[in-house]
């Protein structure tokens, strides 16, 4: 009986299931779920395009020194003989006012854009989600009031202006720009998770966990949290685009990545001085920003469609 694999699943008594076989079924089910999800996701060509863009940009950012035609141009470098060359030939995107290859600098620019996005989200998501979970689960108590009123204060000002204010009082560099944006970003996750958690806390599975005496930690992280992974993931993917935009805005006014480091916003700001004659110096980094944001938005929309289809 124990190793009788030919027996149909439903005929096997629960106590008699071979753990090995159970794991096998579990694996198969998981593979099927993934397969179905991927099938649904891949039906929308735009979502797939977004995924391809995000993967390509990430790979280019990681392997920038090998992908960029002139990796040394991302460092302090001048070549006045080849300054302000229009796009084409040896320099696909042209060169800037001191002869650096703009394509190479854009590829390195992806690096700083992605580092900014990943760092901000990995600071913001745990904090925001934790606060939202706690406030939502203890809804109506003093904990809820304190957390949510503080959240309201942060949400009462456009995030950009507070990020600017914080960044301006610190030393202008990439780390401080990330800190400033993070400080303004967590309340959005707190609010999202708060809404979800305060709805979930009345569900039967939470009530039954409480009844059998599960600890608060178990209820928060093992019962409630797993049920809100999809909206959080979707928001993260869409937020990557926004963080890249805000980061480029901070760099544009000189509060982010400092030259000669190739931040995309910094490059747009520097290139704007040479408009309209040497348009390529500003336009290609600007397009690079748009490409990053577009990729993450397409992917995020794809994920949202996928999750909302699963729910209904």
């Amino acid at each position: 009986m124990l190793n009788n694999a030919s027996q149909p699943d439903h005929a096997v008594g629960r106590s008699a299931i071979d753990p090995h076989r159970l794991a096998q079924i579990e694996r198969r089910n998981r593979r099927e779920r993934w397969g179905r999800a991927w099938y649904k996701f891949s039906r929308n060509p735009l979502s797939v395009l977004g995924l391809i863009m995000v993967v390509t940009i990430t790979l280019m950012a990681i392997f920038a020194p090998f992908v960029a035609p002139y990796p040394q141009h991302a460092e302090p470098f001048t070549d006045f003989a080849n300054a302000s060359k229009p796009p084409g030939g040896q320099y696909l995107f042209g060169t800037d006012e001191i002869g650096r290859d703009i394509l190479s600098r854009c590829i390195f620019g992806f690096r700083y854009a992605l580092v900014m996005g990943v760092a901000v989200l990995s600071l913001v998501v745990p904090v925001g989600v934790l606060l939202g979970l706690v406030a939502g689960y203890f809804q109506g108590t003093i904990i809820d009031t304190i957390i949510m009123r503080v959240t309201d204060i942060f949400l009462s000002v456009p995030p950009l202006i507070l990020a600017l204010a914080v960044a301006s009082v610190l030393q202008p560099n990439l780390t401080n720009a990330m800190l400033a944006v993070s400080l303004m970003w967590w309340p959005w996750y707190t609010r999202l998770v708060y809404g979800l958690a305060s709805a979930l806390r009345n569900e039967y599975f939470v009530v039954s966990a409480e009844t059998i005496g599960a600890g608060t930690g178990h209820i928060l992280f093992r019962e409630i949290l797993p049920n809100m992974v999809s909206p959080i993931l979707t928001k993260m993917s869409l937020d990557m685009g926004w963080v890249v935009i805000i980061g480029s805005m901070l760099s544009f006014v000189g509060l982010g990545v400092q030259p000669p480091t190739p931040g995309l916003g910094t490059m747009v700001a520097a290139g704007a001085r040479f408009l309209p004659d040497q348009w390529w110096i500003a336009i290609f980094p600007a397009l690079a920003i748009v490409v990053v944001v577009l990729g993450f938005n397409l992917l995020g929309d794809g994920l949202r469609d996928l999750f909302s289809a699963e729910e209904s």
Partner: protein, 350 residues
């Protein structure tokens, strides 16, 4: 009669509750800003006077600014002044911050209101068109364009416009609010287009409007695209509802079904997002204002931030917070007017 009085009383209660909440939020915001401004390294008195000022003068100013007191005491002094509309002197302009804001805020409001009108009209029109001709080429074109609009930051639009229409084609003026030599209208609202119309100076109005077009459109495109997407999504959703089918079955003309029964309830998410965008645009305008040399409050605020002009920074953030909160209250009122269910729910919870 009785029902009207009831509705008015509920409206009053709602407003009162929101205002009390807002005061708490603003109070918290002021503490937050004050903390940011005061935990800075460096002596505000020394910064204000410059490195070469004698120590006694700095000490006297420290005494005047209450910098020797504890932080909570300093905060109460600062709050008292702020409540009287006194935010101190700006280090950059060497004038009272309140005067500066009174001068720069109208320019920003004019820009943001202009962009807001474009956003609402354009966004709703495109969204409705898209939903009406769902899955046709019109719909696809609008969807692609609005995607491009959402993912492109306003400052990139600004640079492209400046490049194409301002410099290469030279169709539109690209700097400031008025051309040189054009007479300024007498100051009434501070919005040059409105003031010019009030004074009957059509030439000035025309010039000011031309100056508004590029920064206004650059600022509006992102939120317009967002509005178009939201309007389309809600309308497409509602289009499949039974009540629409019922109205069609009753023989109500398609125009009435679309305009009256479909558009109105579909506007609720559009309006909510619009209000948030409108307030956020006051802040987001900063790069657009920098690029077009628009003398607005965002440009003023950014310059203040770059030069660590604390009095100006705190004042600008507080003013933006006030506008943001007011807009949110207005949204709740408008949404209530559009959706009777929300009105009823608010009434029951009283």
């Amino acid at each position: 009669m009785q029902r009207q009085a009831d509705a008015l009383r509920r409206l009053g209660l709602f407003l009162a509750r929101r205002l009390v909440q807002s005061i708490f939020v603003l109070f918290g915001l002021s503490i937050l800003i004050f903390t940011i401004a005061r935990v800075l390294p460096g002596d505000p008195a020394r910064t204000a006077l410059g490195a070469r000022a004698p120590q006694e003068t700095v000490d006297r100013l420290r005494e005047e600014m209450h910098l020797n007191d504890t932080l909570p005491v300093q905060y109460t002094y600062w709050l008292g002044d702020a409540l009287r509309g006194d935010f101190g002197m700006s280090l950059v302009t060497r004038r009272s911050v309140t005067t500066d804001i009174a001068e720069f805020l109208p320019a920003s409001l004019e820009l943001v209101i202009f962009a807001g009108v474009l956003t609402l009209v354009g966004g709703i029109a495109l969204g409705t068109l898209s939903a009406r001709y769902k899955d046709s080429w019109v719909d696809n074109l609008i969807r692609i364009l609005s995607y491009a609009g959402v993912v492109t930051p306003a400052f990139i639009f600004a640079i492209i416009f400046l490049l194409v229409f301002g410099l290469a084609l030279d169709w539109l003026p690209s700097i400031g609010r008025l051309s040189e030599g054009v007479p300024k209208p007498p100051l009434v609202t501070g919005l040059i287009t409105v003031d010019a119309l009030l004074a009957g100076q059509l030439a000035t109005f025309w010039d000011a409007l031309q100056h508004l077009i590029m920064p206004g459109v650059a600022l509006a495109l992102g939120s317009m695209a967002q509005e178009a997407r939201i309007t389309r999504a809600t309308m497409a959703d509602n289009l499949n509802k039974d009540y629409i089918a019922a109205e069609r079955a009753l023989g109500i003309p398609e125009r009435v079904v679309m305009g009256r029964f479909l558009l109105k309830p579909s506007l609720i998410p559009t309006i909510s997002i619009f209000a948030l965008d409108f307030a956020a645009n006051l802040a987001n305008a900063f790069l657009v204002e920098l690029i077009f040399n628009w003398p607005g409050i965002s440009r003023y605020g950014v310059n203040a931030m770059l030069r660590k002009d604390l009095n100006a920074i705190t004042a600008v953030i507080l003013i933006l917070g006030v506008v943001f909160i007011l807009m949110n209250i207005v949204v709740d009122l408008v949404v209530g007017a559009l959706d009777p269910r929300i009105r009823l729910r608010a009434a029951r919870s009283d």
